[in-house]
């Protein structure tokens, strides 16, 4: 799958409240959009296997006003849940969802830019306040498993996984 380098994923804090992540994928927009909106595909990449914390639930009602709920964990009792609502869904163009698991969480906007056989994805997380953004990161530091960084193991396991 070609080069893998830091420069492919752009991560930039645009302002006190906004973090922007960009990446170009080597596929037409309809394939990339599918991967973001069909749960059976979404589960295959959103929580890379190297985390060691599997995604145990993924319900997505991808339409404007629809909801989603995903859960990570080894069993329901200890699972971490993330949920929210799709505020805007324009197929192959844009997804906007809320992150309602904490009262002060981000709104996520994903835009898909059709570049023919490639697709540029721009994901922006907007927090209600700069304090909220900072807190989100402090929280993340605490819960981030070290294995998350083991990219090679991830690619290996995904490379050998079967059907979707």
């Amino acid at each position: 799958m070609g080069e893998r380098s830091d420069s492919r994923t752009g991560v930039e804090r645009r302002s006190d409240r906004e973090l922007v992540i960009t990446r170009t994928f080597d596929a037409p927009v309809r394939i990339v959009f599918d991967a973001w909106t069909r749960p059976e595909l979404f589960v295959r990449w959103w929580a890379p296997k190297s985390t060691g914390v599997p995604m145990i639930a993924c319900d997505m009602d991808v339409r404007t006003g629809g909801g989603y709920r995903i859960a990570f964990g080894h069993d329901a009792a200890t699972a971490m849940e993330f949920f929210g609502k799709y505020l805007d869904v324009v197929p192959n163009v844009r997804l906007v969802w809320t992150n309602d698991e904490s009262g002060d969480a981000a709104m996520t906007t994903v835009t898909f830019e059709d570049l023919g056989n490639k697709t540029r994805v721009v994901l922006s997380e907007t927090y209600p306040s700069k304090e909220a953004l900072d807190e989100a990161f402090i929280g993340m530091e605490g819960t981030m498993p070290e294995q998350f960084l083991q990219l090679d193991a991830l690619l290996l396991s995904l490379g050998t996984s079967g059907e979707c």
Binding site: I31, R44, P48, L155
Partner: protein, 124 residues
Amino acid sequence: MLNQMVQFLPTRLDASFAALSDATRRGVLEHLESGDASISELAARFGMTLTGMKKHVAVLEVAGLVTTEKVGRVRRCRLDPGGLDEEAAWIKRRREVWQARFDALDTLIEDLKQKEKLNGRKKR
């Protein structure tokens, strides 16, 4: 120790990010990477008044990115080597999460493309 860190970090990060949100201040940091400079040197370099540059340097100082020291009548500015660590680590973590996800997404997309090729193009 840990509690102190948690209380300390948000404020500190906040100040760093505010400091870095300005193009001139980022320029000043870059400039200081190549060596110390006085406020008047920086002001000349960035085409600003002394007062304007003093304000920028003060913001960088509060954020812990720059230290200043008065030598005679001149205030020297230098990078605070520890200052960028928290922010750098913060962004790095974030980047790693998204890289891991997007590399996994790349792999999935390759799969989907292969499948499409085998099955012929599906109509949506």
